[in-house]
């Protein structure tokens, strides 16, 4: 199992051809208190870079873009019901959706944990 990161501050945990996607601790810290989350429904086809989910904090609304393409297996109803999970456990219980990867080559464009840490420090 490998965890990748995008420049849009998503994490992608890959297990075989299944990926779980959420936003990083850095991202939730920037957003502040999350009050609304919308996740994609199972079966939805996502294209890399396309709109996948919505996350809104007290301050602002943000779209979450699919860091990789694929077919949604499950959206996390728990974060829809309890949006603050994104703040309290962003890289665990606060995941957004799971998908079946369309093309594992798309993972090559993403960062590993160390690269992502450096990326955040450069911002």
């Amino acid at each position: 199992m490998t965890v990748y990161y995008s420049k849009e501050h998503e994490w992608i945990r890959v297990d075989g051809d299944t990926a779980t996607v959420g936003i990083t601790d850095f991202a939730q810290g920037q957003l502040g208190d999350v009050v609304f989350v919308e996740v994609p429904e199972a079966g939805k086809a996502l294209h890399k870079g396309g709109e996948a989910a919505v996350v809104e904090s007290v301050k602002a609304a943000s779209d979450v873009y699919a860091p990789v393409g694929g077919t949604v297996i499950e959206g996390n109803q728990a974060v829809v019901d309890e949006p603050s999970l994104v703040n309290t456990d962003p890289e665990g219980e606060g995941w957004f959706f799971k998908l079946t990867l369309a093309d594992t080559h798309e993972l090559n464009d993403l960062m590993n944990a160390e690269q992502y840490k450096g990326y955040c420090e450069s911002l």
Binding site: G32, D33, V35, F36, E38, V54, E56, S57, V58, K59, A61, P83
Partner: protein, 368 residues
């Protein structure tokens, strides 16, 4: 405009504030988090730095007559140390700014919004007669202490302040410094606004924050608190295109002035009072959990734009999204369902009487 630093800039940063640009200043948007700060203010007491606001003095033999030509307050009823909410209006009754004015001895003390203070000063200088002199107190900081525990804790530091009723003010000694303290604020809670020399601001802010009931509160919670309290924010819910009657601020037009006029904007106000305004500012409770924010459109059944959301967000005290909007007068009655279009989606809102969260002001003589 380059960003300026407020007297408490370093103080905020040392307390872990996240700073953002606001009204041309670097200001704290939050410390520990907007929802926690919001709830703390409703339950205990929060300290806000509002030093970006403009503090003005208008003095001189023609001060009263000059101000009366610009503001719809009844100056004969404006008593010493009794702040009044008032409005700076154009000849067409557009709102240049909303403000607080207090008679203070031989002069008037005004507090105006930070983003608009430069324009306000120009407007005053262009219209005040010779014999009225305006001074911008740039060396003065302004703190707001808001919340149900504010009075008890401030009374420990500034004896006598607990005797003030809502919308009264006076000079008090706080930490050895003479401060002008009014029992007022913009959160819907009991509380105080403290005008003090900028040079003493850090020391006195520390004294207040040392009280166990107090936490520092940023602009984010200030906005959610005032929205729940139904209080309009200039530049969002009020601007040059809105009139006091549309905005539901008729209480700021003194009764005598409604009849007699004699201030800029009176003709349109008199007409709107007689015929009713075309549109009104209303409160909306939004269905679901997704906030509908400033800029969202109010639409009719055919999707035509009939109004606009001017403030909107998540109300921590209600755990629901709320908004303020301008809607046609026919849609302004509480209970009316309106449709709101935002980013390609339609949300439903119910027109709701404001405040959304009851005010808890300390009115003297009222049952507590």
């Amino acid at each position: 405009m380059s960003e300026q630093l407020l007297p408490l800039d370093g103080w905020h940063r040392r307390r872990g504030a996240r700073m953002v640009e606001f009204a041309g200043y670097q200001m704290p948007i939050q410390y520990e988090g907007i929802i926690a700060e919001h709830r703390w203010t409703r339950e205990s007491a929060g300290l806000f730095d509002v030093s970006h606001m403009g503090q003005l003095i208008v003095a001189g033999p023609a001060a009263e007559q000059g101000l009366a030509a610009l503001l719809p307050a009844d100056f004969a009823m404006l008593k010493e140390g009794r702040p009044k909410y008032s409005l700076l209006l154009t000849a067409e009754a557009g709102i240049i700014d909303d403000l607080m004015i207090t008679r203070r001895g031989d002069h008037f003390y005004l507090v105006v919004n930070g983003a608009t203070k430069a324009g306000d000063i120009e407007h005053f200088q262009a219209h005040l007669p010779a014999g009225a002199v305006l001074d911008h107190m740039k060396e003065q900081a302004l703190l707001a202490l808001q919340g149900p525990k504010a009075a008890d804790l401030l009374a420990r530091l500034a004896p006598g302040v607990a005797e003030l009723g809502f919308m009264t003010a006076g000079a008090f000694t706080l930490g050895g410094t003479t401060c002008w303290i009014s029992r007022s604020g913009y959160t819907g809670e009991d509380g105080f606004e403290i005008s003090l020399p900028a040079a003493d601001a850090e020391r006195i802010a520390d004294m207040i924050l040392d009280q166990p009931e107090v936490r520092p509160i940023g602009l984010g919670a200030r906005d959610s608190l005032r929205l729940e309290a139904g209080l309009p924010l200039y530049g969002h819910d009020l601007d040059l295109t809105t009139t006091p009657v549309e905005a539901g601020l008729v209480f700021a037009i003194a009764r005598r002035r409604r009849e007699e006029g004699g201030f800029l904007g009176w003709e349109r106000i008199a007409a709107e009072l007689e015929n009713g305004p075309i549109r009104k500012r209303v409160g909306l409770v939004v269905e679901g959990r997704q906030p509908v924010r400033e800029g969202a459109l109010v639409v009719d059944g055919e999707g035509n734009e009939v109004g606009k959301v001017t403030s909107g967000g998540f109300a921590p005290s209600l755990d629901a999204p709320i908004a303020m909007a301008y809607v046609p007068a026919a849609m302004a009655a509480p209970g009316t369902i309106v449709e709101l279009a935002q980013r390609g989606r339609v949300h439903r809102g119910t027109v709701t009487a404001m405040p959304f969260v009851p005010h808890r002001y300390h009115r003297k003589g009222a049952p507590q």
